[in-house]
């Protein structure tokens, strides 16, 4: 059997430089393949850990802002929660409007707490509708509305009708408001 060892040895002896270069080039081939796989694995692992690391560092850098936001939100929600209405406590709810009536010097001719819409599961709040009929001079009625808008209870004026009766100086104000309440 003819083996290539003899010719190779002869070639290496005749051209040691070329043979040495070719030997090293051939040796570098499997080394490059191995390193290619290693590099791919290391690159993927590095990209993942770097992404996580950068997210962590960004979060750490934003720590102050997050804490401040949390504090502000907590305070705001606390303020809301302290003044939430309760559908079951009608007297408390209506009492709030009588207090505003007194402050704005109008006459609360009629006030009714309406039935709230059913609460959706998971909702932290619900709206309790209240219907009001108020009479008084224009300025006082405006002050009444302003007091409701800026008062401690969160409410939304859903509908209103401001009208004057013929021959009467006072105005009539029909209001329907939604009070923010515990679910």
């Amino acid at each position: 059997m003819i083996t290539p060892v003899g010719p190779l040895r002869g070639f290496a002896r005749r051209r040691p430089l070329v043979a040495g270069c070719l030997f090293l080039a051939a040796l570098s081939l499997p080394a490059n393949l191995y390193l290619w796989r290693e590099r791919s694995a290391v690159t993927a692992e590095h990209a993942e850990i770097r992404r996580r690391g950068e997210a962590t560092l960004a979060a750490v850098a934003d720590r102050g802002r997050i804490k401040a936001d949390v504090a502000a939100l907590t305070e705001a929600l606390g303020e809301i929660d302290r003044h939430l209405a309760s559908e079951e406590s009608m007297e408390v709810n209506l009492g709030y409007f009588y207090r505003v009536e007194k402050l704005s010097r109008v006459r609360l001719a009629r006030i009714d707490q309406l039935v709230a819409a059913p609460t959706i599961a998971g909702q932290p709040y619900k709206a309790v509708p209240v219907s009001l009929r108020v009479t008084g001079p224009y300025r006082n009625l405006l002050a009444f509305i302003r007091e409701l808008e800026t008062g401690p209870r969160l409410l939304r004026v859903r509908e209103y009708r401001l009208e004057r009766d013929p021959g009467v100086t006072d105005l009539n104000l029909h209001l329907t408001v939604d009070l923010l309440a515990h679910p």
Partner: protein
């Protein structure tokens, strides 16, 4: 003392001599200290080349391709002249050419192969005729031994050396080192007589007389080995030249007896030159040395000396080697008298000396010895194809190696760098793990609180505050206009009132009022339309009752 392991202690070279009858090859090692050792030696026929390479390939220490060779040769076309010259004459090529031409013209009838010297075709080297040292400028007329060699012969020798895959480190006319060695032998023997050196070539025979005043160079004689063969053929009655040559190389006792008679013609041609020397110098001539005769013909030396009227010059190479800084390795059996010229090439190599071709490889110093001149020519490669192919192959192999190794090194470096970076990020993650968990919890709480706030906003937000709207309406009301009713819900706002003006003027005022409402910043953009939906005369008076509807945009689904 510790030796530097990176210092190469021994250099290996090849000594190769091309003489008229043989090619003599010896492998020598040159240790840093001590004599040069002849490791191996071989003799080849004069025109052999391939067998030399094969023989070198069989020598374990000398089979490396392109090893350095110290080359000597006896040119077929050459001139060796002794003349008194100024050293300056030899430095200017034009002066040297005219000088040599003039000297040759005086030697009418000599066997010198040229009549007109040309530096293009001939290479001239000169040493002092008495001691072989280089000529010194400014010393006036000096007896010089001028050696002229045809350049094409030098190129031929170089090509033969290259054919043996050797690099010529030096190429010397071997006659000069031979003269030096013979002078040294004469000195050791306290020989006062001159020595005659005879070089028998195929067609001519050259004679050189080595006396006290240096080397004398009588003209050569046109009687060489060919003429001797013809004489043997005639004398012995042989049919062919081959038979005559065989008779000469394997002499019978009868041939040895007849030898002085056979050599009488050659001796007769040489004797006038010897006699002339004795008469002109007054120095007696002693032994005769036949140089370069191969072992089969070496027996001719003694009959020739006897025929000339002198005795043969005895040469014991091994004895001479000891004083010449040479040593034969055990097992080297050759090294007869015919090796004197070849071994003279390597004699007295100073320690740490470097051949010309080795200069680029190390820090050695070149050497200059008496009786040694280098006659190498700029290399001319007749066919550059193999060299080009070899270069391209080496360049490609080198490029492949560099590419492969560079790519591997780059990948390794990338792996290393990414690994270090990943370790840094792992460390950062480990250090901030608790903090990050705390922040994650805070973010979750923030999201939950934001969701609650968003729910509250969804329930309570309004497009604008009714109080602001009522005040804006009051401020924008034109004169002689009265609002009786304002009604609002999630979809629209209705303003109802009356204009206390004549009908035509009232309708114009209502139009202007609508335009003013649409342009007012507090209403523009909040309503999709602001239109009058009713304009009627009232029953009680001439006022016009109107109704304006302002529509909110439809809520997003």
């Amino acid at each position: 003392m510790l030796s530097n392991p990176f210092q190469r202690h021994t250099r290996r070279s090849v000594v190769i001599e091309f003489n008229p009858h043989q090619v003599l090859v010896a492998g020598i090692t040159r240790p840093r200290r001590g004599p040069v050792v002849v490791e191996c030696a071989a003799e080849f026929p004069a025109m052999e080349t391939g067998a030399i390479r094969d023989w070198l390939d069989r020598q374990s220490d000398f089979r490396r391709n392109w090893a350095t060779a110290i080359c000597g040769y006896v040119p077929r076309q050459s001139v060796v002249l002794r003349e008194n010259v100024h050293a300056e004459d030899l430095t200017d090529p034009a002066r040297l050419e005219s000088f040599i031409t003039e000297q040759q013209a005086r030697r009418a009838g000599s066997s010198a192969p040229f009549r007109e010297a040309s530096a293009e075709d001939w290479l001239f080297r000169a040493v002092q005729a008495n001691d072989g040292r280089a000529l010194e400028a400014g010393q006036g007329l000096q007896p010089a031994l001028i050696v002229g060699i045809a350049r094409h012969e030098i190129r031929h020798v170089e090509q033969r050396v290259l054919d043996c895959r050797l690099v010529p480190g030096r190429i010397e006319p071997t006659l000069l080192p031979l003269f030096g060695s013979i002078y040294e032998l004469m000195a050791r023997r306290h020989q006062s007589q001159a020595t005659v050196v005879v070089v028998v070539q195929d067609e001519t025979t050259h004679v050189y007389i080595l006396g006290k005043e240096g080397v004398h160079t009588p003209p050569g004689v046109p009687f060489g080995l060919t003429a001797l063969v013809q004489q043997v053929r005639r004398d012995s009655g042989l049919d062919t030249d081959e038979a005559a040559v065989r008779e000469l190389r394997q002499p019978s006792p009868d041939m040895r007896t007849r030898a002085p008679r056979l050599l009488r013609g050659l001796a007769g041609a040489l004797r006038p030159a010897i006699d002339s020397y004795e008469m002109t110098t007054g120095q007696p001539v002693g032994p005769v040395h036949c140089a370069y005769l191969p072992p089969p013909l070496s027996w001719l030396a003694e009959p020739l000396a006897v025929a000339v009227g002198h005795e043969a010059f005895a040469v014991d190479c091994r004895d001479w080697m000891r004083s010449a800084g040479l040593e034969a390795a055990p097992g080297v059996t050759l090294l007869g008298a015919n090796w004197l010229g070849a071994l003279s090439l390597a004699a007295y190599l100073p320690e740490n000396a470097t051949l010309e071709s080795e200069k680029g490889l190390g820090k050695g110093v070149s050497f200059q010895r008496s009786w040694h001149v280098d006659s190498r020519q700029p290399m001319e490669i007749p066919d550059a194809g193999p060299v080009r192919r070899s270069f391209v192959a080496a360049a490609l192999a080198g490029a492949a190696m560099v590419l492969g190794l560079t790519f591997a090194a780059w990948q390794w470096q990338v792996c290393r760098t990414l690994g270090a970076d990943a370790a840094y990020w792992r460390e950062q993650l480990s250090e901030h793990r608790e903090l990050f968990a705390d922040l994650t919890r805070a973010s979750a709480a923030l999201d939950a609180d934001a969701a609650r706030l968003a729910a509250a906003h969804a329930l309570m937000h309004a497009p604008f505050q009714p109080s602001d709207f009522l005040m804006s309406i009051g401020q924008s009301l034109p004169p002689r206009t009265r609002i009786d009713r304002i009604e609002a819900n999630d979809g629209r706002v209705v303003l109802a009132g009356s204009l206390l003006e004549p009908a035509e003027e009232a309708s114009r005022s209502l139009g202007l009022y609508l335009e003013a409402l649409r342009r007012a910043p507090e209403f523009r953009g909040r309503f999709t339309s602001i239109t009058a939906t009713s304009l009627q005369r009232t029953r009680d008076d001439d006022a016009l009752a109107f109704e304006i509807t302002m529509r909110f945009p439809a809520p997003a689904p």
